[in-house]
Symmetry: C2
Subunit: 113 residues, 2 copies
DNA sequence: TGACAATATCACCATATCGCTATATTGTAA
DNA sequence: TTACAATATAGCGATATGGTGATATTGTCA
C-alpha cells in the first residue's frame, strides 16, 4: 500500500463537501440562493420544501461552509458564502450534458438534433 | 413555488455525480487512478481496499461515468474517463484550505504561519 | 475438459440519511 | 409577563450505503 499524497483527513473533508452537494433538495436551495439571498420562509415557498426540512438542509449546507445565515430579528437570511460551488456545478452540468448527448447518439446514430 | 430553471431530473443527475464523489474510498481510488491506470489487484494493493469493496466502489464510479474499465484477458484495467473531476477536486481542496487557514487564524490571531 | 486466477456479485449487518410530525428555541410586541 | 411568529431541533420510520465474507462469473492455461 502506497503512501498517499492525500491523507485521510483531507479526503474526508473533500468527501464531506461533496456529500453536502449530493442531494436534490440542497441543490435546489443553492440554486435558489444563487439568484438572491432568502429568508427561510421565502425559501420554503420557492422550493416547496417544508419548514423543518428546509431548516435541516440549510444546517447541513451551513456546516459544510457553503452558505451563511444571519439573524435579522425574527428572520434568518441565508446566502451563498462559497460562489465556487457554481463553478463546480457548471462543470458537472456540462459533463452530464455531454453524457446525455453521447447516449442519445448511441441510440439514434446519425440523427440530427 | 417558483418554476425552477433546473428540473428535477437535472438536479437528480447532478446530485448523483456528487454522491459518487462523496466517499473516502472512491476519492482514494480516483486519486490513485489519476497517477496512472490500474488493474483491480494493483488498486487494492495501493489503496488498502479489499477486493470485493474495490469492485463495488469501482462499479459506482463507472456507473457515474467517472472511470472506464477495459478487460485485458483476465484483468480489468481502470482509468479516469472524466478528467474534469480533478478540476472539481482542486476547487474543493482550495476551499478547504481557505477554511482551515481561516479557522486557524481565528484560534491564533496574529500568529504567523 | 479441469484447475486456477482475477474480478464481479450476493446477502448481510451496521450505520447514515431523508422527510415527516411534534416540539423547543428565539425574537417581537403588547 | 403573555401571545405570537419564525426558525431550529428531536425523534421516528423508511430507505440507502459502506464494508464484509461467501460465492458466482469470466478468462487463461494445461
Amino acid at each position: 500500500m502506497v503512501k498517499s499524497l492525500m491523507n485521510d483527513t483531507q479526503l474526508e473533508a473533500i468527501a464531506e463537501t461533496f456529500a453536502a452537494l449530493a442531494d436534490h433538495s440542497r441543490l435546489l436551495i443553492l440554486h435558489t440562493l444563487q439568484r438572491h439571498p432568502c429568508y427561510v420562509n421565502e425559501l420554503c415557498e420557492k422550493t416547496g420544501l417544508k419548514q423543518a426540512n428546509a431548516s435541516k438542509q440549510l444546517g447541513i449546507l451551513r456546516n459544510a461552509g457553503l452558505i451563511d445565515g444571519q439573524r435579522q430579528g425574527n428572520l434568518v437570511r441565508y446566502s451563498i458564502s462559497e460562489p465556487m460551488i457554481f463553478e463546480i456545478c457548471e462543470l458537472v452540468c456540462s459533463k452530464i450534458e455531454r453524457d446525455t448527448r453521447r447516449r442519445f447518439e448511441e441510440l439514434a446514430p446519425g440523427k440530427r438534433g
